[in-house]
Amino acid sequence: MNAESNALKKKEFEKIYSRFFSFFFQIAAHFLHHEEDAKEVVQEAFIKLWEKDIYQKSEQEIKNYLFIIIKNRCLNLLRDRRKSLQHIAGHGYLAVSVSYKILEATGEDILLSAELSQKIQLAISGLTPQCRDVFTLSRIEGLSNKEIAEKLEISVKAVEANMTRALKKMREELSPYLSEKHETAMNLPIFTFLLSFL
């Protein structure tokens, strides 16, 4: 008798899934440097979202919930990885250690950036032509530094220098939109939200 409403619920859940999976996958993959792990972590978070019926809540609540779960799971994974790598104490260990630290300090504010992505577009167009080309090829087209160097017929060093310059300039210019000035205002709703489903 519930078949119809169940099918509806599933549909609704699928909509949320299609909308946000890739977004969170990319965040997780960035920190984990491992696509399979990232897939698993994000899948796990969506399963929780379904089991706890949170997919019916507001978009902001859904995103916050997914973020909290994904962040915690990623931290656990990184922690385990760091533990298993510590005896080697080499490159992998250091990279994991830095990732862990940044992720730990990363708050939900990383989610709300509709405004930010517009500002980034603007800032990109304000860069010097070579900076702009290099940055666009790298971040938007996803080319490697070497591919960009070949395409633009410049050295890899020059690509790196342009990327660095672009990042630095944009960071300075966008700092009002990047920094967590809304942090306290942001944390409160998340906090009450967390309490609401205890």
Binding site: Y17, Q43, I47, K71, I102, R139, F191
Partner: protein, 329 residues
């Protein structure tokens, strides 16, 4: 050494050298720098293609996983037909031939009991309804056993682990929870039993229960009381408790009600990989706190919650691989 912005770029592109990573690690120790690094990260992620791509994992794969787990979460019932009895029947068949066998078989089958073993595996709590409609919440990693004669003669179960019982009232057939060293006898009530290898804890929510050790000592328990038996020295003590603290697990949450900060941090140490240090031990006793939180809440968020009601200063120090140290002042 390259400027820090270049190292950050290398780090994002995953080709920083060990020296550069070390430098970055040290540089980001400072809060100001860490914030800067976070800004860069945000810029990096949002200038990439964070938005609007199809899922890297198909919806159907996740949906199937959800369905698979739903099946798993339903308690598994294993039928343990008594192997020994079958073996006996088989032997008799061999020895006596068919004629004798039939008459013996009849007698044996009347005696033979079926046993039911219900296991909650390590992944989830289970809820079981027994033949008398008694509801049992079985904590993950626990199991409960009963036989086919369950309602006919008496209502006896065998528990290993932890379970919360909501027992259907039946004055003619007392409900008995057997453990290795003691048993709990009730008529109809709600209570929690935790049978661990070093201690038993029975917490009574309402009604009344009798706790009886194998040595024959009996204790009556009243609502809101908990009896605890230390299995090493056989000490038994009864105390008044907030039963929610001992039954909250069945709803998957952790509850603190009017507990001292010291009690809370002790529990948090068990849940999270952290250790608490008090600059002034009096702080641990002075403040009390009530609240609930979901187990997925991070330790940082739990502390934020505590800080809302307790005036204290918190500093966290990473001691990896040892537990992180959290100093309270």
């Amino acid at each position: 050494m390259n400027p820090i912005e270049k190292i950050i770029l290398y780090f994002f592109q995953k080709n920083a050298s060990p020296e550069e990573l070390t430098a970055l690690d040290e540089w980001s120790e400072k809060a100001v720098n860490r914030n800067l690094l976070k800004d860069y990260l945000k810029l990096w992620l949002w200038s990439g293609q964070l938005k609007d791509r199809s899922p890297q994992l198909e919806f159907n794969a996740t949906w199937e996983e959800i369905m698979r787990r739903r099946k798993l979460a339903e308690p598994r019932v294993i039928w343990l037909r008594m192997v020994a009895r079958y073996a006996a029947v088989a032997l008799i068949l061999l020895n006596l031939g068919w004629w004798g066998a039939f008459s013996y078989y009849d007698r044996f089958s009347a005696v033979a009991k079926q046993e039911f073993l219900i296991i909650a595996d390590q992944t989830a709590n289970s809820v079981v309804t027994l033949p008398d409609q008694t509801r049992v919440h079985l904590r993950k990693g626990s199991n409960i056993k009963y036989s086919s004669s369950f309602t006919a003669e008496s209502r006896e179960v065998f528990l290993d682990g932890e379970a919360y019982f909501d027992v259907t009232r039946d004055e003619d057939h007392p409900f008995v929870v057997n453990m290795e060293h003691a048993k709990v006898k009730v008529l109809g009530t709600r209570f929690n039993v935790s049978a661990r290898s070093d201690s038993y804890q029975i917490t009574l929510v309402d009604g009344s229960v009798i706790f009886k050790t194998n040595e024959g000592k009996e204790y009556h328990l009243l609502p809101d009381q908990m009896i605890e038996m230390n299995l090493k020295n056989r000490d038994v003590k009864i105390e008044k408790v907030n039963t929610e603290l001992y039954t909250a697990w069945k709803d998957g949450k952790i509850i603190f009600r009017d507990e001292t900060l010291g009690e809370i941090t002790k529990k948090l140490e068990l849940i999270y990989h952290v250790e608490f240090m008090y600059a002034n031990p009096e702080l641990a006793q002075r403040y009390r706190f009530s609240g609930t939180f979901h187990p997925e809440t991070s330790i940082g968020e739990v502390i934020t919650m505590l800080k809302l009601s307790i005036p204290m200063e918190v500093t966290r120090k990473e001691k990896f691989p040892d537990p992180d140290m959290i100093y309270l002042r």
